[in-house]
Symmetry: C2
Subunit: 459 residues, 2 copies
């Protein structure tokens, strides 16, 4: 599939170079805007406006939305005012707002100057809402109906107004002052048995809506929970201000999952895709956690120094430190990541902390015992007998395995408690993942190990 796409891409580029514009255009019109946008990424700068001008008006606008910000900027800078107007007229308001957000100030000024007044004011409205709020991802273009309309009148209104609306399939019934009072779907309207039925008799009134300030992550959850096509956005007085559509919710779901994954791995969330990020941006996102975790490893250093005597007396003990810390870190991050994901999918609430703790404790004991038994055998048969390491006595083996078992239990308890605590403190639980847990567990596992060594080996 991907390979086939590359062949098409090469062929189209060749046509562009050979100036076979008519043929090129005939092929482009059969393609999907997302795929055309992907083509642009491999063009030279001067080829971009050339190919863009081959597209029919509507397809050009749809392709424009799917392009990367730097290509959009390049095109806008090259557009005449007229061309810019034409593209803007075809855009949905929320897409236009997204584009405006990515552009430098002088380009934004030109866009707003050339947008028609209604769009200009809508863009300004959307941009005023805080980032990651429902207001910032909504569109103000939806179909509104009045409760006293009949089915026939409603269908007529949709036919008249529908062309500019992002979705016509869910229509919102509003009363005085745009107060949201119900919804009807086009399916209900089409399947209605009597064309004269008033909308008020058939609309759904047990509505689920969000406010402009609702977090976009919560909005995305509601989509996956309720399977909506669109969700109404209201202000503090239940007045309709816009809708969020399922495709934007999908983007948010993907974005939020990526953000969680990045934070779980000790990175700041990135604004751009990997290939578009500069080396310095990657550095800026990665260095803070690395620095913090490196400095906090001072504690493990102090513990090692404190038990220097024990280590010097039984140098064989040091060989197992990496294994102990590694297993502890892995056990802890398994628990923390599971809890973080469940919290972020809304399957788990803070009040479940007792259940989580009890579940993790039993799982930890099972894992700890299983690992300790295998480890005991491994050390004895491989390290002691096979590699003939006489420093590894039965007692050393015992100390290592006891420490391993306790470390796993401690790690899993810490791993599940910290994200729950973060949730209770209204912090993002994703911060409490692998790197953070590992650093804490590293210190705890060393403590456990040396305490066992001290008491059982008399070092």
């Amino acid at each position: 599939m991907a390979e086939r796409f590359e062949i098409v891409q090469k062929a189209l580029q060749k046509m562009l170079e050979d100036k076979k514009y008519a043929t090129l255009r005939d092929i482009l019109v059969t393609m999907n805007p997302s795929d055309i946008a992907a083509l642009f990424q491999d063009l030279e700068e001067k080829q971009i406006p050339l190919m863009f001008r081959l597209l029919p008006k509507e397809q050009a606008a749809e392709t424009f939305v799917e392009m990367e910000p730097d290509e959009q900027e390049l095109l806008i800078r090259g557009f005449s005012d007229n061309e810019l107007k034409e593209v803007l007229d075809e855009l949905y308001v929320d897409d236009a707002a997204d584009i405006v957000e990515e552009m430098p100030a002088n380009v934004v000024k030109r866009i707003l100057k050339n947008a028609d007044p209604v769009m200009r004011s809508s863009i300004n409205q959307i941009l005023r809402y805080p980032e990651n709020s429902a207001g910032s991802i909504m569109t103000t273009e939806y179909v509104s109906l009045r409760p006293d309309m009949t089915v026939e009148e409603a269908i007529l209104r949709i036919r008249r107004q529908g062309v500019d609306k992002e979705t016509i399939y869910t229509c919102y019934v509003t009363g005085k002052d745009r107060t949201l009072i119900g919804l009807v779907t086009v399916k209900d309207l089409l399947l209605a048995e009597d064309d004269e039925t008033p909308i008020s008799d058939m609309m759904l009134t047990n509505l689920i809506s969000v406010t402009t300030r609702t977090d976009q992550e919560e909005v995305a959850h509601m989509f996956s929970k309720y399977n909506f096509l669109a969700l109404p956005v209201v202000d503090g007085e239940n007045r309709m201000v816009g809708i969020v559509t399922f495709d934007d919710a999908m983007d948010v779901m993907e974005e939020e999952a990526t953000e969680d994954i990045e934070m779980m791995s000790g990175m700041l969330p990135s604004e751009k895709s990997y290939l578009k990020s500069s080396v310095f941006e990657l550095f800026k996102n990665r260095i803070p956690w690395l620095m913090l975790l490196m400095v906090s490893a001072t504690f493990t250093g102090l513990i090692m120094t404190a038990f220097e005597g024990a280590l010097a007396a039984q140098i064989a003990l040091s060989a197992f430190i990496p294994m102990l810390m590694g297993t502890g870190g892995n056990s802890g991050s398994q628990s923390s990541v599971t809890v973080i994901r469940s919290l972020s999918l809304g399957e788990l609430k803070f009040r479940d902390i007792g259940i989580v703790l009890w579940k993790e404790l039993r799982t930890a004991i099972l894992c700890g015992v299983a690992l300790a038994v295998v480890c005991f055998a491994k050390i004895w048969f491989i390290d002691h007998l096979l590699f003939q390491n006489d420093a590894i006595t039965l007692m050393v083996d015992l100390v290592v395995c006891l420490a391993l078992c306790v470390t796993v239990v401690v790690a899993k308890i810490v791993g599940c408690l910290l994200p729950m605590a973060a949730k209770a403190l209204k912090l993002d639980p994703a911060v409490m993942a692998s790197p953070f847990i590992s650093t804490i567990v590293d210190a705890l596992s060393l403590l456990v190990y040396f305490l066992f060594a001290k008491s059982l080996l008399n070092v």
Copy 2:
């Protein structure tokens, strides 16, 4: 929001206990099926059928779909054949197939016996497709039109057939033998200027479709890329067999992100949500990687043993081992997780390996140098001057920081290369994440450290 829900929940349970069925029913009918299903989770076993029977037929079926498998099973076992038939008649085929998949054999037998013949054969067809394929998540209920129909005829057909279809908004135009030849949306039909226009004149023919065997992850990507409401599923001869709808694609996106996150943290993907998983299931998903990684830490043990002499001579060196391994592990997993996520979002392909390597190398050098400089100062001012540790000489400090810098570079290179290699070998790159990378980087960082120590400190 969540708290408000709990208050409602308590009030409704009280009504059930007090046998105020009429009031309870009046409230339930205003609620969303997903929310009603959530109510059932906290009911006692004998209350479940009681409350379920209060729901009107259609709402009962919608709620049933949203319930957990164990509650569904409980209800089915309590249903009379007639009740079961009524619920089944209201279900969409893909939901029915999902339920059948979760039930034990004797329950499945009863379901298939009571389903009408068309549904029975559709369920059987869906269940035959491999797990995680487009065939297994599709529904066979869609609206099909013929190319010679007019707009008016098409709308009439939708009005007649629509009630049982999962979506009516995208209709598929099929030719002889159900061959897929185009699509029209209800929006196009409603906005068409002339009711007599033949469908063949207005249908989209540059179709994007998947086959029954396409992986569900790829299907979900196509939804988020193209913003489809539904995607047609065809067989090897381009004959229409079903559609996947956006809500199922959303579920797949969430599922696949969870699976990636679990694999990235060294766990086998779970089938059930965390709270529904038994302790033994959690154990089974977590122990394989823990065991494997513990045993593979034998290598780090061997390296430690090999350099035992060096450690004994300069015992201060051991204090920095946890910090070195920790920073190496974190640096490596930052790179691997970034690459894995980009691969799984389709932003990165194997052919980009050169770009990735060059980007990571430069980022690694920036991170490595920054960390080494800060670490050098920290060791000197805190460990040496503040804690007055005389064993930490300027030379020891230098060895630690050089090793740190090289470790970070090595870790980031390993971290980006392994997932790319996995991709090339058609393995799941998510396996090559933190735990796996850490184990490899642990060994490499020790080697680097001891080699620097040997050559610069003459130990």
